[in-house]
Amino acid sequence: MSTILIVDDDPRFRAQARDLLEADGFMVIGEAADGASGLEAAQALRPEFVLLDIGLPDIEGFEVATALAVNGPPPWVVLMSTRDARAYGRRLTDGHSLGFIPKERISGAAIRALVERP
């Protein structure tokens, strides 16, 4: 079963995402409410995936993704946002992430689709 860490500042969203992903066969091994604790949790838990909000209260998701890529074996980073891809343009594809999913489309299937994308 794939392990995943959810980094988002909204506890209600984290709970909903956890339920959805667990129903889809992911194992949610941790949650973090901001970028700094997200980085710590990733270091400690070594998840296969990190579901990462772009609009975090302390560090922007793009920067967290970059930091995750340089500290040890990098996890698959899936960026997500309340906004859609039009708000970020090329930054979504330039960085160290597997891909981007608008928050309402979060599901195990959507994450797996990014991995299997050619």
């Binding site: 909903q16 959805l20 309340t82 039009r86 708000a87 930054r91 309402e104 599901s107």
Partner: protein, 442 residues
């Protein structure tokens, strides 16, 4: 000898007026921006005039001569104030002392009295520019009655009685006719000049005021645009933090409910939940479109180039983008973005074009924007409110927009926006003129 006094003194008065007119013409072309220096210059020039009229007097006897110096001095006192008058008086007394004679004390006392009367009247009367010819004439008459009285008294005290009475006999008529008229004429000249100068000053003040106001209006216009931009950003953020977030939560909740229902399997409830999820999704899409139209986050985050590329990617026809890199003030980027966005929207809606080109050139102090298509042309910039609104927005930044749209040959929209916003210039200092009220307060 007595018969000669009147014509000679008329000539002397005419000389005074002629020199004064020349002086006036010359000095009105010269502006000096330091009040003290100007006052000194006025004093010197008046002194030169005084000496020049003292060079062609009525010679009554050796060491006794008369001229219109008192006319000049009362007018100097009245119109030029203490400093120029003191300088003039000093020069004229010095000149008189180089030509000693029996009447030098009387002459010098007459000069001092004339200057004193002028200054005293200046002190009492504030609105010199309102003085009429008649008022000036009465002033001249009054002054010369006093001067005649003093001169008569001093001549009888310092000269042999026969000489004194002969001099007074020759002097009294011109002093009470020619001199007041000359005083009034010289005064009128200066009243006119004073009015002209006040008009010039008022004009300069008005112009400076208008310029200041214009700068203020431009600055406030720019501030309004800036405030509008801030407000748009705030609304976008509020939508993101509020309604969008709630709709996402609703979507996820509906999907969770749907997945739990799979096991129980009531078909109708499942269908209803699917429809609800679709509705929530549609609302979210609309809300995002709205937020993007209000303020595109990509513009503030990544700049004009990427924002325009993202805009081009959403436009249903082929759009090539050529934007020179660089960041500009947010109001400028915002205006540029909305010009391009509106132009591309019009291309899609009306132009029947197959492709469009967006070019943005960053120059030293402005950016130049062009949006060109290969459509049917014939666009009328006056018909759409969109372009007019943009023109207003650009004007607030001192930018311009123009549309060229010949029928059958495509449409080209060009806009220029200054990237350096104007700062108000320092307030100009107006020089304080020597003639009007400034010296009277001292």
């Amino acid at each position: 000898v007595i018969d000669l006094a009147l014509p000679v003194l008329v000539q002397n008065a005419a000389l005074l007026l002629a020199v004064a007119v020349i002086f006036d013409v010359v000095s009105s072309r010269v502006t000096i921006d330091r009040a003290r220096i100007e006052q000194a210059m006025s004093g010197l020039l008046l002194g030169v005039i005084g000496v020049s009229i003292m060079l062609s007097p009525w010679h009554f006897a050796s060491g006794i001569f008369f001229d219109t110096r008192t006319v000049l001095l009362v007018i100097a006192g009245l119109f030029f104030g203490p400093i120029p008058t003191a300088i003039t008086l000093g020069m004229m007394i010095a000149f008189r002392l180089t030509q000693p004679g029996a009447a030098s004390v009387t002459g010098i006392a007459g000069m001092i009295l004339a200057a004193g009367i002028g200054l005293l009247w200046r002190h009492r009367r504030r609105l010199l520019e309102d003085m009429s010819f008649l008022q000036l004439l009465m002033f001249g008459l009054g002054a010369h009655v006093l001067i005649l009285g003093q001169t008569t008294l001093l001549m009888f005290l310092t000269l042999p009685q026969a000489v004194a009475s002969a001099a007074v006999a020759g002097l009294w008529l011109p002093l009470l006719t020619v001199y007041p008229v000359a005083t009034a004429l010289l005064g009128v000249l200066l009243v006119v000049r004073l009015r002209a100068r006040q008009l010039t000053d008022a004009n300069a003040r008005l112009q400076a005021e208008v310029e200041t106001q214009l700068m203020e209006v431009r600055a406030s216009r720019a501030r309004i645009v800036e405030a509008g931009d801030l407000e748009r950003r705030r609304v976008e953020r509020d939508l993101h933090d509020g309604a969008q977030q709630r709709l996402i939560s609703l979507s996820l909740e509906l999907r969770l409910a749907r997945s739990k229902l799979d096991e129980a399997g009531d078909h109708e409830v499942r269908q209803s939940l699917d429809r609800a999820a679709e509705e929530a999704q549609a609302a979210l899409v609309e809300l995002r479109d709205l937020a993007l139209g209000i303020h595109p986050l990509i513009l503030t985050e990544s700049g004009l180039g990427e924002a325009v590329e993202s805009l081009a990617a959403r436009t249903p026809i082929d759009v090539s983008v050529d934007v020179s890199p660089g960041r500009y003030p947010s109001a400028v980027e915002g205006a540029a973005y909305f010009v391009i966005s509106e132009a591309l929207a019009n291309v899609t809606k009306y132009a029947s074009a197959t492709k469009a080109v967006v070019r943005v050139r960053g120059l030293a102090d402005r950016i130049a924007i062009e949006v060109e298509d290969d459509g049917i042309g014939g666009a009328d910039p006056r018909s759409g409110s969109g372009l007019r609104g943009l023109a207003d927005r650009l004007a607030a930044l001192d930018g311009t927009i123009s549309v060229a749209s010949p029928i059958g040959r495509g449409t080209k929209i060009s806009a220029v926006i200054p990237t350096i916003q104007p700062t108000p210039p320092p307030v100009p200092t107006l020089w304080a003129p020597a003639i009007p009220d400034a010296t009277m307060e001292a």
